[in-house]
């Protein structure tokens, strides 16, 4: 997006209302998250929200902008929630604080604040964290009903803030790799895909527990579609392309490439399709542009998941496509009616 604001930004109360609806739409996913993985996620969301608001206020002060109206627009909160949902809930407290502060200070305000940031701030924060702290970013809570020791809320809190686990427990006993990561590691060891998917971490659609959370985000996304906050182009193009590419690979060699449904319901695919790519500031303005943008993101996500060094590809795919937005916008802008093409 260039120097001028999108029309809706001229009325801060509207932005605030839209953002509030998006936050509401995240609630079913979050509720299911708490059910399967324990309440630790609520701690990260709270930490992220507080950091986001504090950083936002500090940056606005530094930039000599009015603090109150921008703080009330809820956009910083949305960034904070999206980041908190992308990182392991049991990560140490400073991880989410550093990540959120980076999102708001660097990815948002150094680029000129709301409306001017070319990159999705939450995804910038995620990229910074996964690159800088890969160890802390790979310890995910084991979902309910996997036979692992379950930590109580107090124990989880204690671990997040002090790094101390209750007597005799190792981090390995309460955490595990994500389904996507496990799949990748096992494929690396030359196990066939269908054999890997019989392990207890996997369920009928994708990963045990995480697939249900993905459904939660899908429901929230459908609510956003129904209330016309997002248009259908981005999610449909994203999920469609992901399905198509994964389907082609799966048909060609099912022992190496898992079914497209697995890709839909694992990692951040649903969150990405409805909540991340749909950020109006960092996505193209035209329908055609949105199609290209989302299809490109899906293709990159798939390639990173299958061939890349990182377990999930949504963040990097989104950032790479964010760079292309000005170009996509320039080529998909409808011709101005009545203007004759110049003859060179």
């Amino acid at each position: 997006m260039s120097a001028f604001f999108s029309p809706f930004i001229s009325k801060p109360d509207t932005v605030s209302a839209i953002m509030l609806k998006v936050l509401l739409a995240l609630l079913p996913g979050i509720a299911l998250y708490v059910w399967y993985f324990g309440p630790a996620i609520l701690v990260s969301i709270t930490l992220a929200s507080l950091t986001a608001l504090a950083t936002e206020a500090a940056m606005l002060k530094l930039r000599k902008r009015p603090v109150a109206p921008f703080l009330k627009d809820n956009s910083a909160l949305l960034t904070a929630w999206l980041l908190a949902l992308s990182i392991p809930p049991l990560a140490p407290w400073w991880l989410i604080v550093v990540g959120t502060a980076f999102c708001i200070a660097v990815a948002k305000h150094l680029y000129g604040g709301l409306g001017n940031n070319p990159f999705n701030p939450a995804m910038v924060g995620y990229a910074v964290l996964i690159v800088s702290f890969p160890v802390q970013m790979t310890h995910w809570v084991t979902p309910l009903g996997m036979g692992a020791t379950e930590l109580s809320f107090v124990q989880q809190l204690q671990y997040i803030f002090s790094g101390i686990l209750p007597g005799g427990l190792t981090l390995d006993a309460v955490t595990m790799a994500t389904p996507l990561d496990t799949l990748k590691t096992q494929l690396h060891l030359a196990h066939p895909a269908n054999e890997i998917l019989t392990q207890p971490i996997f369920s009928s659609l994708a990963g045990h527990g995480s697939e249900v959370v993905a459904i939660g985000f899908l429901i929230g996304g459908l609510y956003l579609l129904a209330s016309k906050i997002i248009s259908w182009h981005l999610p449909v193009a994203f999920l469609g392309t992901l399905f198509l590419v994964a389907g082609i690979f799966h048909l060609a060699d099912p022992s190496h490439y898992v079914a497209p449904v697995f890709h839909w319901f694992s990692g951040a695919a649903m969150l990405g399709a409805f909540f991340i790519l749909t950020d109006p500031i960092t996505s193209p303005t035209t329908h055609k542009g949105k199609f290209i943008f989302a299809a490109g993101a899906a293709l990159l996500t798939y390639l990173i998941r299958v061939y890349g060094a990182f377990p999930d590809g949504i963040a990097f795919a989104t950032l790479l496509m964010n760079i292309c937005v000005p170009l996509i916008d320039a080529y998909t802008q409808p011709k101005v009616f009545g203007k004759k093409e110049k003859k060179a």
Binding site: S132, F133, P134, V135, T138, H139, T185, H188, A309
Partner: protein, 226 residues
């Protein structure tokens, strides 16, 4: 017109030639001035690395010169061959330093040097080059953690091959949660190198016909910055 063009070209050519000659002369001088010192530095560097694995008091031969070129071998994971440096005390074999490659790291090949004592126990292992994820798989590097020292003193366990695995797979070697592919690759490569040593022990310690340690970069015993 033609004459002047020829003349101009000739002038230019001679000019460039003149500077080339001066440049070559300068380079030649510097080369001869620094040659011995460079060779010495390279030797010390190699020795420094080797002596981390085999204490320099335990041998008395010129270990860098007492090298043998090894043909590519599947057990060593080498595709272009490698070098074996032999340590001897009073002409009796003390140990050998082998170059080996773990081909199946998380992001590609991991180059190792492995010191094996004459009795078949490991003197030590070092990673000389790798592309593992920084902060995650790079703990195999001695600069990042002392994980690699877990190999010190280990040897083949013919009765119980399963020991040569990381603990997660039921073996004896530590690993860091979240990064098991990298240590698996290294453990496997060291295990194979020990098997290679067991098969080729006598040839490895054979005295060289007037040795020609292959020169330059090929030696690969070089601390990497990656």
């Amino acid at each position: 017109m033609r004459r002047t063009l020829v003349k101009a070209s000739l002038h230019t050519a001679l000019n460039v030639l003149f500077f080339t000659v001066i440049g070559t002369f300068l380079l030649a001088i510097t080369f001869f001035q620094t040659r011995d010192r460079i060779a010495q530095s390279e030797q010390t560097e190699k020795l420094k690395l080797i002596s981390q694995l085999i204490p320099s008091s335990s041998f008395d031969n010129d270990i860098v010169a007492d090298a043998q070129h090894l043909a590519p071998d599947a057990l060593l994971g080498t595709t272009t061959g490698g070098t074996a440096y032999r340590a001897r005390l009073h002409d009796q074999p003390v140990g050998v330093v082998l170059e080996a490659v773990a081909p199946d790291g998380y992001s590609g090949r991991i180059s190792l040097i492995i010191a094996i004592k004459a009795d078949g126990t490991l003197g030590g292992v070092r990673v000389v080059e790798h592309k593992e994820t920084p902060g995650l798989g790079d703990y195999i590097d001695i600069a990042k953690s002392d994980w690699i020292q877990g190999f010190d003193g280990k040897s083949l366990t013919p009765q119980h091959d399963a020991d040569w695995q990381v603990k997660k797979d039921g073996g004896q070697f530590d690993y860091m949660a979240g990064a098991t592919i990298t240590p698996r690759a290294v453990v496997k490569a060291v295990h194979k190198a020990l098997q290679y040593f067991a098969l080729h022990r006598t040839e490895l310690f054979m005295q060289n016909s007037p040795a020609s340690p292959d020169k330059g970069r090929r030696g690969g015993v070089k601390e990497s910055t990656k």
